[in-house]
C-alpha cells in the first residue's frame, strides 16, 4: 500500500514528461543537429555560414534587437503604471483590470492589423489629426523609406499588445506585498515616487524578474506584428527563419536561425538573472 501511494505522482507526471520528450526535447536536439549540417545531411558549419552571409542577416538581427531594447523599458513603465493604478483600488477595479488585460488574448497578427488601421496613410491617426486641424496633409507613417518610423510604429503596437502579461504578473506581485509596508512608508514620510523606488520595486523584484524574462524571450520572437506593419520594409529574425523554411526550403539554415534566437534568449535570461538577482528568502 505504501508503495502504491508513492507511485501515484510519478504516474500522473509521466504522460506530460513523455510528451515533452517527444515533442520538445527531440525536436530541439534535432534543431541543433540540423543547424550544424549542410543540406545534404553531413556535419558542417555551412548552414551557419549561409545564415551569416545572408545580406539580410545584419538587418534582421539589428531590427529585432532594436525593437527589443526600445519596447521592453516602455512596457515595463506602462505595466508598472497599470499595476499601481490597479493596486490603488479605484472605483471599478475589476473593470480597469479587465480593460488593461484585454490585449492578453489578442494575437500578434490581429494586433498588427489593428495598428495598420491607425497608421496607414488614410488611417485613423491622419484622419483624426487632420480633422483636428493639426495636420494639413496626411503623413506617410508606414513607409519602407523611413526605417526608424517603422521601428517606432512596431514599438507602439508591441507595447499595446504585450504589456498586459507583464501587468498581470506585476499586479499579482503587488498584491502579495502587504499594504502595511506601503502605509508604514507613507507614515514615515515617503512620497509616491519614493514608495515606488524604495518599497515597491525592491519587493516586486521576483515578479519583475519573471515578467522581464518572459517578455524578452517573446520579444526576440517578434514576428506577425512586424510583418503586418512593416511588410518588406523591415525584417526580423523569425521572418528569416520562416523564409528559409518555407520559401527557400532550406531547413538547415532555418534551424541555424532558431539556434541563434535560442542563444540570444538564454544570454538575455542569464543577463536578467544576473542584473536582478532575487535573494532566496524573497521567493515564495
Amino acid at each position: 500500500m505504501t508503495k502504491r501511494r508513492n507511485l501515484a505522482p510519478w504516474l500522473l507526471v509521466l504522460p506530460s514528461a513523455l510528451y515533452l520528450a517527444v515533442f520538445f526535447a527531440t525536436p530541439m536536439a534535432q534543431s541543433f543537429a540540423l543547424a550544424l549540417q549542410d543540406s545534404a545531411g553531413s556535419w558542417s558549419l555551412e548552414s551557419v555560414q549561409l545564415m551569416l552571409g545572408d545580406p539580410d542577416f545584419g538587418r534582421a538581427v539589428s531590427a529585432t534587437l532594436t525593437l527589443l531594447v526600445l519596447v521592453i523599458p516602455i512596457q515595463l513603465a506602462l505595466a508598472l503604471a497599470m499595476a499601481i493604478v490597479i493596486n490603488k483600488r479605484l472605483r471599478g477595479t475589476s473593470l480597469w483590470l479587465y480593460c488593461y488585460a484585454l490585449p492578453l488574448a489578442i494575437s500578434e497578427l490581429a494586433a498588427g492589423i489593428v495598428w495598420v488601421s491607425i497608421f496607414t496613410q488614410r488611417g485613423w491617426l491622419n484622419s483624426i489629426l487632420q480633422s483636428l486641424g493639426i495636420l494639413d496633409r496626411g503623413v506617410i507613417w508606414m513607409s519602407g523609406e523611413s526605417y526608424w518610423m517603422l521601428i517606432g510604429i512596431i514599438v507602439v503596437a508591441e507595447a499595446w499588445r504585450a504589456t498586459s502579461i507583464m501587468m498581470i504578473i506585476l499586479v499579482a506581485g503587488l498584491q502579495s506585498i502587504p499594504d502595511e509596508y506601503l502605509e508604514a512608508a507613507e507614515v514615515y514620510g515617503a512620497s509616491l515616487w519614493q514608495r515606488i523606488r524604495r518599497v515597491i520595486l525592491p519587493m516586486l523584484r521576483p515578479s519583475l524578474q519573471v515578467a522581464l524574462i518572459l517578455r524578452v524571450i517573446l520579444a526576440i520572437q517578434v514576428f506577425a506584428t512586424a510583418v503586418a506593419l512593416a511588410g518588406t520594409g523591415l525584417t526580423v529574425m523569425s521572418q528569416q527563419a520562416l523564409d528559409w523554411a518555407n520559401d527557400i526550403d532550406n531547413d538547415n539554415v532555418a534551424a541555424a536561425w532558431a539556434g541563434l534566437m535560442l542563444v540570444i534568449s538564454l544570454t538575455a535570461t542569464v543577463g536578467i538573472l544576473w542584473l536582478l538577482p532575487v535573494r532566496e528568502e524573497q521567493r515564495q
Binding site: 506530460s16 504578473i169 532558431a258
Partner: protein, 304 residues
Amino acid sequence: MTRAHTLETPPTTPARALDGPPVPEGPPPPRRKHTWRRLGNQALWYAAAIVLALFIALPIYLIFVSAVTPEADRYTYPKAIVPSALSFENISFFLRASGVVDAFWRSCIVGIITIVLALGIGAPAGYAIARYVFRGRDAYRLVILATRAFPVVILSIPLAVLYRQVGINDSVLGVALMHTTLALPFTVLITSSVFVSIPRDLEEAAQTLGCSPAQAFRRISLPLALPGLTAAAIFTWVLSWNDVFAAAILTLRNPTLPARILSSLTQAPLHFQFAAAFVMLVPSLVVIFIIRRYLLGLWGRVVK
C-alpha cells in the same frame, strides 16, 4: 532593612461618581469637506487610469469601426469616428474569400484538440505537483519552466521535418500536437495553481468520511477545480487560436486562420485585413471576459 508595610486592602481612593465616557457637548462637528488637495489627488489617479484605459481600448474600438464601415464609406476621408451604419459587408467579404471559412473551422478544431491533449496530459501533472512531494518534483518544475525559454521557431522547424516523415505535415493534427507542446507548460502550471488553491484538508476530510483517494478527488477536488480548469482550457484555446508562426511553418494548403490571413497579407486590401483582424479579435475579447475572475489567479500564481 525593609520597612514594614500593611497588607490590608488600601483605603479606596476618594469616592467618585462612576465615570462614563466623556459626553461631547454642542452640535456634532461639521462633516469634513473634500479638500481640493484630496480631490485633486483622486482626480489624478482617475486621469491616469483613464489614459491607460484609452490607450488599450481605443484601438480596439477603431478596428471595430473599420470592420463595420459600409462599403459606401470605405474611402471617405477623414474617417468618421462613429460609423454611419453598421455593415457586415467587410466581414462577409472576408469570410467569402477562398479558404477563410475552412481555415476558421480548422483553427477551431486545432484549438479543441489542443485543449483535450494539453489538459488531458497536463492536468494530472499539475495535480501531482500540487498535491504530492516526490523525488524529481523540483526538477520537473524546472524543466516545465525552462521550456518557456525556448523560442517556438526552434521547435517548429524540426517538427516540420518530422511531420513530413510521418505523413502528418500540413494537417490539423500536426498543428495541434505543436500547440500542445506550446500550451503544456502553461496547463501544468495553471492547473497546479488551481489545485494548490483547494485545501488538501478537504480531500483528507473526505477520506476520513469514507472516500477512497479517487472518490475524494472526484467528489471534492474536481468540482471545486472545475471553474479554474475551464479557465485553463479556455486559455489553452487562445494560445492555439493566436499562434501564427508554428501554423505558418507547419501548414501550406490547409492553413489555420492566422496562417491563412498571414499568407495573403501583402496582397489583401485593407478592408479585408480589418475584417480579418476583427474576426480574430472577437473570440479573444469574449475569452478574457469569461475568465476575467481568474486572470490574476492564472497568471499571477504561475510565476511562483
